[in-house]
Symmetry: C2
């Protein structure tokens, strides 16, 4: 993969970069909307294009179960099946096998699990994950990993990390031997694990760099640890990742987290927050969050964000969106999602522009001046949990 850093900042690790796939180039930092089942919930590919989305995520575990790889293979791959012709990144399925499936047993390099949908038995392995992602035809394939939850004991984290290294090595071996199915190139990203333990993260980053991947993801963060801990670990890890490759922070996050992580040198983000929260009536703006169901909006005829040029803000008032929300109108879910996806893409796009213009510090300051950062509820929850356990 030809990864080109266009501009670095002096005062932080933030950088603007670019790489090409056969489905178009990716300009970083970038937010990647999540299309778990081969669709970004409530939206169409045309809307995603208009919002200037570049990469869409798909989910190997979910797509493997439904509609199944044969359906997608016969369609000519996920691009043709979903009608999204831009780059697609698919995760390895590892995370879902551990977090969603019912029973699961690790047997050497295989993991046996039961579908969360119908209890049917399945087996995943690094090789199988690669093969499914080959069939999906993703532009970016993620190596098969074992993601731990939080909190996690050191020994468990170590074991999962070592398993991850083994699985990722096998992922790469299979990947190197396999031929792309649909005539376009596929790239392979490795996933660094190690929970919140610096020593493990360092080790993981080093091992994966030695194996060598097209890009490096940091997995197993934003799984419940306090925000402070997450950023400490992130900084520690970043020091050991090859600079001249894309850095992808999986599953993050809130707008402020994204800005913080760009500051630490992250290039790529995915998160369900903008889509899921939109469906719960929570919208994001440069001035903070708007909970559209609140009574204060019932006769507020301003758009969610007066400066936003998305279709929602250009055409509809908060009062109308609140009405749609209160009446459970599907159109409301769409309009909210469209706005949030637009905002998230603008967020990373503006960060990128600021880096290119050597104004990232100013951009960051302006962002935090306007945007009220959410409290880190995990700290409080953890404290409460500890108190209960006493």
């Amino acid at each position: 993969m030809k990864f080109q850093i266009e501009e670095k900042t002096d005062s932080s690790e933030a950088r603007a970069a670019k790489f090409d796939t056969d489905h178009g180039s990716v300009n970083t930092p970038i937010f990647m909307p999540v299309g778990t089942h081969g669709v970004v919930k409530t939206l169409t590919p045309a809307e995603l294009k208009r919002a200037q989305a570049e990469v869409i995520l798909g989910n190997t575990y979910h797509l493997y179960l439904r509609p199944g790889k044969e359906i997608i293979k016969n369609a000519g791959g996920l691009h043709k099946f979903t009608s999204w012709d831009g780059p697609i990144l698919t995760d390895s399925g590892g995370y879902q096998v551990f977090s969603l499936s019912n029973m699961r047993k690790i047997k050497g390099n295989n993991i046996i699990f039961q579908s969360h949908i119908d209890g049917s038995k399945h087996e995943f392995s690094p090789e199988k994950s690669m093969e499914i992602q080959r069939i999906l035809g993703s532009d970016i394939i993620m190596a098969f990993d074992h993601c731990t939850s939080y909190p996690c004991e050191f020994e468990d984290a170590k074991e999962a990390m070592e398993r991850t290294h083994n699985w990722e090595r096998r992922s790469k071996e299979y990947f190197e031997d396999m031929r792309a199915l649909y005539g376009h190139d596929q790239f392979l990203f490795g996933i660094i694990q190690g929970s919140v333990f610096k020593e493990l993260r360092q080790k993981s980053a080093e091992v994966l760099s030695n194996i060598g991947f097209d890009g490096y993801a940091i997995g197993g963060l934003a799984v419940g640890e306090p925000k402070e801990e997450m950023f400490n670990i992130l900084e520690e890890t970043m020091a050991y990742i090859p600079e001249d490759s894309p850095h992808y922070l999986m599953g993050v996050g809130k707008p402020e987290d994204i800005i913080w992580a760009i500051d630490r040198g992250i290039d790529m983000f995915d998160c369900v927050i903008p889509t899921r929260n939109a469906r719960n009536g929570l919208m994001y703006t440069w001035n903070g969050r708007v909970k559209i169901k609140q009574a204060q909006y019932k006769d507020d005829y301003k758009p969610v964000d007066s400066n936003c040029d998305c279709y929602t803000c250009q055409n509809f008032s908060r009062a109308y969106l609140r009405h749609l929300y209160k009446k459970n109108e599907i159109t409301g879910l769409r309009l909210n999602t469209l706005h949030n996806i637009h905002f998230y893409l603008e967020l990373t796009q503006n960060a990128r522009d600021a880096i290119l213009n050597n104004e990232f510090e100013k951009f960051k300051k302006q962002f935090f001046d306007r945007y009220p950062v959410e409290k880190d509820h995990w700290k409080e929850n953890l404290k409460k949990k500890e108190e209960r356990q006493r």
Copy 2:
């Protein structure tokens, strides 16, 4: 209202006509998508424009309850509130008061009812219905009527009809004295009642013609009577409606019903079938219905209708739509609805074109050659009901 008949057919009552509103002209025959709560479910105004929708329905009863007339008045009317800038027709609320509200009591010209949402008490009258529709700013206002259900005794139908005549007279009086709120003209349509009794329908048509309205609707049909009976009554009624006014058949219907009714001289239609059925995975094409959830479509990579130029058919396969349906993906509901609305509008548009080209007989024949007409389940249901009652 300037209603201009552009072309009549020799062999039937079908005609192509046109009238203007301040929000655009209406070319008939036309199907009008239903936007009960100020939104055509799952769609946006931009999509309706692209599907060449001309008139959208709104629902006085529902909009009066939520968000309430003050919210819409302060928005500057329903057009501004919903961002739909084409013609809007609102029903009078009469039908919902009788079919949806909990308790209801007729007291002279007033009807007292309880909201189906929260049980709160409200009062409607012809004057109040007119005033609400004035505030909504509909281009076409429907007179306040009493719609009977089916089956209905002759005496009950007669009483409801006479009440309707009285209410519609009062509707017109109020309408003539009221000033439009937002600087655009509003028109008033009368509603003919009389259940399935020819003598009452004839009477109702005559009384309303004498009162004089901008257009005439036939209400109280498609409420459960056998299809044959509906078309007999429709024909009987049509003979007594002024020819040089729009004819609107309320709540109809399936594609074949619409073609049949155009044949009898109907110009305007509304129905929830294309939108509601879309959300249940039922799609309409010129070759009949497609139940997208069926297993036969799981690897069917053709569009729902290969000749259709809607966004759905241009971009997505039956296999993909089936996948979205099975995963309860909102995008699927949108894409199905978009197709159905597109089909219904094409249906009336093609009928109109055929009339203008003096080819309506040929069009009708071609339609019924291709489109498998659904069985009239009401006949069977009625038979079963009668058997049970014996």
